[in-house]
């Protein structure tokens, strides 16, 4: 589902022409037909110089200061030829930065090929920075999952489990304790470099931050708890799986096991919490978040406990021996 993600040049232009200070200068006819399908950008200097192997024709092509200076060194017919050669590789569009004047041959050839050419008044670095963020927003690998995403002490906990297990009630309890709900039920998760970001799959603000509590129906957390109880976006850092307790269920009794859940190729810590009557799940979630913070700082409580225990056991043997040999 992610491989096929792409955006048309016309979408990019419509959504960001002001922010990126873009002007369309040639190849307008191809706006709807040319698609960018990679989050990375490419600077086609090498291709313009004649080497066209391994050309990434799914990427937006940036003509920065170096490329434009290089093109200037050609006489017009040679310039036309170099451009033509690159156009044969079918890139989706070109952006010239720093508001540089466009050579006539470039405009003509792009018009002929129907490949859009834009000029940005931003510096090359700024443009690459902004456009990469934008392409990531539109093209990042994403997945939808059922669960509840809560910010607990700054840690994004994704609470998952079968329907009716108490995810939403736990979230409600957490909000009551001053934590913040990102979304309940259907969560969109996407990858930002090696991080996972989560938000409500529901984009319309009027429908966000609603929680279904069995017996009450659907309630709006924002209307009850106010602005402090919600946030729109949070990094997903720990998965908490609620599981109905069954006899014979194997659970981690020490906290030495480090289970993970793989989401979009990223492994994040997974804690499986057996649900039993009378368990305070919100409090457990708070402790999970705090423990995660502690572990992040390099302090692993159970490993330390184990180390101390081993020390003690060694000492005990020594002490026992001393006591045994201590005959008055």
């Amino acid at each position: 589902m992610n491989e096929s993600k792409k955006i048309s040049v016309s979408q990019l232009f419509l959504e960001r022409n002001q922010e990126f200070k873009l002007k369309m200068v040639a190849g307008e006819g191809g706006m709807e037909k040319c698609f960018i399908s990679s989050m990375d950008i490419h600077r086609p200097g090498l291709a313009l110089s004649g080497f066209t192997g391994d050309f990434p024709s799914d990427r937006l092509q940036v003509l920065g200061g170096t490329e434009m200076a290089f093109l200037k060194t050609f006489d017009p017919p040679a310039r036309r030829l170099a451009v033509k050669k690159v156009l044969k590789l079918n890139p989706p569009c070109f952006v010239i930065t720093k508001g540089t004047k466009t050579p006539l041959e470039l405009r003509e050839e792009l018009n002929k090929a129907g490949i859009p050419l834009m000029v940005s008044r931003l510096s090359t670095n700024d443009f690459i920075h902004f456009v990469s963020d934008y392409l990531e927003l539109r093209l990042a690998p994403e997945t939808f999952t059922h669960g509840t995403l809560v910010d607990v002490y700054g840690i994004g906990l994704l609470i998952v489990g079968k329907s009716g297990i108490g995810k939403s009630e736990t979230a409600l309890d957490l909000v009551e304790r001053g934590h913040r709900l990102v979304a309940d039920d259907l969560i969109r998760i996407w990858k930002r470099r090696s991080l996972l970001m989560g938000e409500a799959a529901e984009k319309r603000p009027a429908f966000q931050h609603h929680v279904e509590i069995r017996g009450l129906g659907i309630i709006n957390l924002y209307s009850i708890f106010g602005i402090r109880s919600i946030r729109l976006l949070k990094r997903v850092e720990v998965v908490v799986e609620l599981k109905r307790w069954e006899k014979g269920m194997v659970v981690d009794r020490l906290g030495l096991e480090r289970a993970t859940r793989n989401i979009l190729g990223v492994d994040i810590p997974l804690l499986t919490i057996p649900v039993l009557p009378g368990r305070n799940l919100a409090m457990i979630c708070e402790v999970i978040a705090m423990n995660h913070l502690v572990v992040l700082r390099g302090y692993h409580p159970m490993e330390l406990f184990d180390r101390e225990l081993k020390k003690l056991l060694e000492n005990k043997i020594k002490v026992a021996r001393e006591v045994e040999e201590d005959v008055e």
Partner: protein, 86 residues
């Protein structure tokens, strides 16, 4: 697993009441129920998800049921979506 395509006939679309009824019926089956609209696939036993789909009159939904009572589940759910009550 069984699947079924259905067109919403209710003239307001899949609003709160029919969605609630859908979930009520869906929860009665042990099969897993999934509903897909425009590529968005949600749990058919979750009222919030179902409402999030905002399925208008005439929109096409793909129902999936997976489990021992999948056949009966689809039959029962079809009735709700195709009925114009609610």
């Amino acid at each position: 697993m069984k699947t079924l395509e259905i067109v919403i006939k209710n003239e307001i679309g899949l609003h709160a009441r029919p969605a609630a009824q859908f979930v009520k019926i869906a929860e009665g089956f042990t099969s897993e129920i999934w509903v897909t609209k425009d590529g968005m696939r949600v749990n058919g036993k979750s009222i919030l998800s179902l409402l999030t789909l905002a399925a208008e009159e005439g929109s096409m939904l793909l129902l999936e049921a997976d489990g021992p009572d999948e056949h009966e589940a689809l039959e029962a759910l079809k009735k709700i979506l195709e009925g114009d009550g609610g």
